[in-house]
């Protein structure tokens, strides 16, 4: 028979009190850990995905939209730009690399991105099978696409116009063929079907010609369009000069992914703060409920505590008993809330996976959460101390004789 067992028995002997305290505590822990994980991982995902590029150049419109669509592939593009308009950027001394991307089609909801193979290098994407694309209509599939659609090397598929599933127009004249499958990167590449720019141009040339019933004629190199240009600067001077230059002197716009994502996160940040505030408020209420339930317990069990003194328990041990009961409650509440939080992240991950293709990880106990646990345990200890003051003043003889 040890104190822990007795504390546990005491705790479960009042199931309704226990339920209320546990519910409040685990709710606050759930909210705090869930939102913390969500915002951290979401922010982390975004930062990781934009890291390879410093600037996006595309058609005029919302800069955030341009970043979301061209870098993160979650939004629709702002429009097209002419390849010849950005050719000067590709040769600019401040620019290290400038990769044109073109998109607008999908296969079963996964975006087909026309770009140069160096795009893969920027995301450090390695092939798990096959080779990179070389000719038009050869495709390298991101790991998640390959897995979800069960794509194998040599598989052939057609694309549909638009970025969502169930688009009306099927480009059924051209078959893409899977030539390579990528290893998982944990980044946006996992969600893409990558091909070269020519493939995209050919599909749409053909389409236009088909519709307008004009003789096939090759567009000149200058007339070719891309959706946007992803730029990595060589020197920080590029960051200072080029965006302003483009925005003021051309019909295109330049957006800085870092800046836009930061803006987005600060917008989300106020939401996160609100939820954290709510979690803190619930935590305070749960602390109060633990305090009240301990206080009640100690009042109701005054006689039992006095009895334990006659059994040879010291006053400190009785306090230990109350403290143990509180800490046990706090620990169970935390663990319960933490697991609920992770369950929430798992749910959110499923949701984001289908919507944006982002995976959230189920992580182990984090330092900040450990800190939260520490905070809760300190709270509980203080509550137990306040609630136990009567234990130190317990008059055993009087308590046991009062009938």
């Amino acid at each position: 028979m040890n104190l822990c067992y007795l504390a546990f028995k005491n705790m479960v002997s009042k199931p309704l009190n226990l339920l209320l305290s546990l519910l409040l505590l685990s709710l606050s822990v759930f909210l705090a850990t869930f939102v913390l994980q969500l915002s951290q991982q979401f922010g982390g995902q975004l930062s990781k995905n934009i890291a390879p590029f410093d600037m996006v150049v595309g058609a005029k419109g919302s800069p955030l939209q341009l970043v979301l669509s061209s870098v993160l592939h979650v939004d629709v593009p702002t429009g097209n730009i002419k390849l010849k308009d950005v050719s000067m950027l590709q040769k600019h001394p401040f620019v290290e690399t400038a990769i044109p991307v073109s998109y607008g089609d999908n296969h079963k909801g996964f975006r087909i991105l026309g770009t140069e193979t160096s795009y893969l290098d920027h995301y450090k994407a390695k092939l798990s099978e096959g080779r990179r694309y070389e000719n038009p209509f050869e495709v390298v599939a991101g790991s998640n696409v390959a897995q979800q659609l069960a794509l194998k090397l040599g598989d052939r598929f057609t694309s549909s116009h638009g970025l969502a599933v169930g688009a009306v127009d099927e480009h059924d004249e051209h078959f893409f063929i899977v030539k390579g499958i990528l290893e998982p990167t944990g980044m946006v590449v996992d969600q893409l079907l990558l091909t070269n720019l020519e493939s995209i141009w050919k599909i749409h040339d053909h389409e236009e010609n088909y519709h307008e019933e004009v003789e096939t004629q090759k567009e000149t190199e200058e007339e070719k369009e891309i959706t946007s240009l992803l730029v990595k600067f060589k020197s920080p001077m590029g960051m200072v000069q080029l965006p302003r230059f483009i925005n003021q002197n051309t019909s295109m716009q330049a957006a800085l992914p870092g800046f836009e994502v930061q803006r987005l996160m600060s917008l989300l940040g106020s939401g996160v703060k609100t939820v954290n505030g709510i979690a803190l408020a619930i935590l305070l209420v749960s602390g109060l409920s633990i305090f009240i339930s301990l206080l009640k317990t100690i009042r109701e069990r005054r006689r039992e505590l006095a009895l334990l003194r006659t059994y040879g328990f010291r006053t400190e041990q009785l306090f230990g008993l109350a403290l143990l009961e509180g800490l046990l409650l706090a620990l169970i509440g935390f663990v319960l809330g933490w697991f609920l939080g992770r369950l929430g992240i798992w749910g959110a991950s499923q949701y984001m996976q289908t919507l944006y293709g982002y995976n959230l990880q189920i992580k182990g106990l984090e330092q900040l959460e450990l800190f939260l646990l520490g905070l809760i345990l300190i709270f509980t200890t203080i509550a137990a101390l306040f609630a136990s003051r009567s234990i130190f003043k317990l008059n055993v003889a009087k308590t046991l004789s009062d009938v």
């Binding site: 028979m1 067992y5 007795l6 028995k9 005491n10 479960v12 002997s13 006689r303 039992e304 006095a306 009895l307 334990l308 003194r309 006659t310 059994y311 040879g312 328990f313 010291r314 055993v396 003889a397 046991l400 004789s401 009938v403």
Partner: protein, 208 residues
């Protein structure tokens, strides 16, 4: 075994009580009688070190209680003193068996299952071991109360008005039980009572 000398106690309201000296040899049984309100229960708590005397000393098994530190006093009480209350007290969240184990916690018989088994057998509590104490009948609660006073083989058993709420038949039973059990664990027994029915069972009387 138990010896008190010039004991005086002061209540919080200033009233003072003085007690006659008491001496019990090992295994001796003694009855302490007197009308209610004369301080019998107070003496019990003084002798078990739960109340500090104003003056005088209590010695149990050669140890003067006043000389023990608080910590030592607590463990001494847990090991050597058994109290049977008039109004039985239990830990309500625990089963009968756990209540008994808890009482053994601070004694040398902490893991003495044999002692526990033998005692519950004699007191007819065997089938009720896993029950919550609140589910016991009045009679079973009485027997458990007695068991809790002596399961740890104390040197001295204090019984505070053990028969006050009982009819004649049960009164006889409880007295027999107390005497028997005290005999078995070779404990000294001090019964505090104002119940005249108990008196014929003991030769040794102290009047307060």
């Amino acid at each position: 075994m138990v010896k008190t000398l010039n004991l005086r106690y002061a209540y919080q309201n200033g009233d003072e009580l003085s007690f006659p000296d008491i001496e019990l040899t090992p295994g001796e049984h003694m009855l302490m009688i007197g009308p209610s309100g004369v301080g019998k229960t107070t003496l019990l708590y003084l002798m078990s070190g739960l109340l500090p005397p104003l003056r005088g000393t209590v010695s149990i098994a050669g140890k003067e209680l006043g000389s023990l530190t608080r910590k030592k006093m607590d463990s001494f009480r847990g090991e050597h003193i058994g109290i049977i209350f008039q109004q039985y007290h239990f830990i309500k969240s625990l089963s009968v068996s756990d209540n008994l184990r808890l009482r053994q916690h601070f004694s040398k018989s902490a893991s003495d299952k044999k002692r526990r088994d033998a005692l519950v057998e004699r007191l007819g509590l065997r089938e009720h071991l896993q029950k919550k104490v609140t589910k016991l009948s009045q009679g079973q609660q009485q027997r458990l109360g007695i068991a809790l006073g002596l399961i740890h083989r104390p040197k001295i058993i204090f019984a505070d008005e053990p028969t006050s709420n009982l009819d004649d038949v049960n009164c006889e039973k409880v007295i027999e039980l107390l005497k028997e059990e005290a005999e078995i664990c070779k404990s000294s027994l001090l019964i505090i009572t104002h119940d005249l029915r108990v008196m014929s069972h003991f030769q040794n009387h102290v009047r307060l």
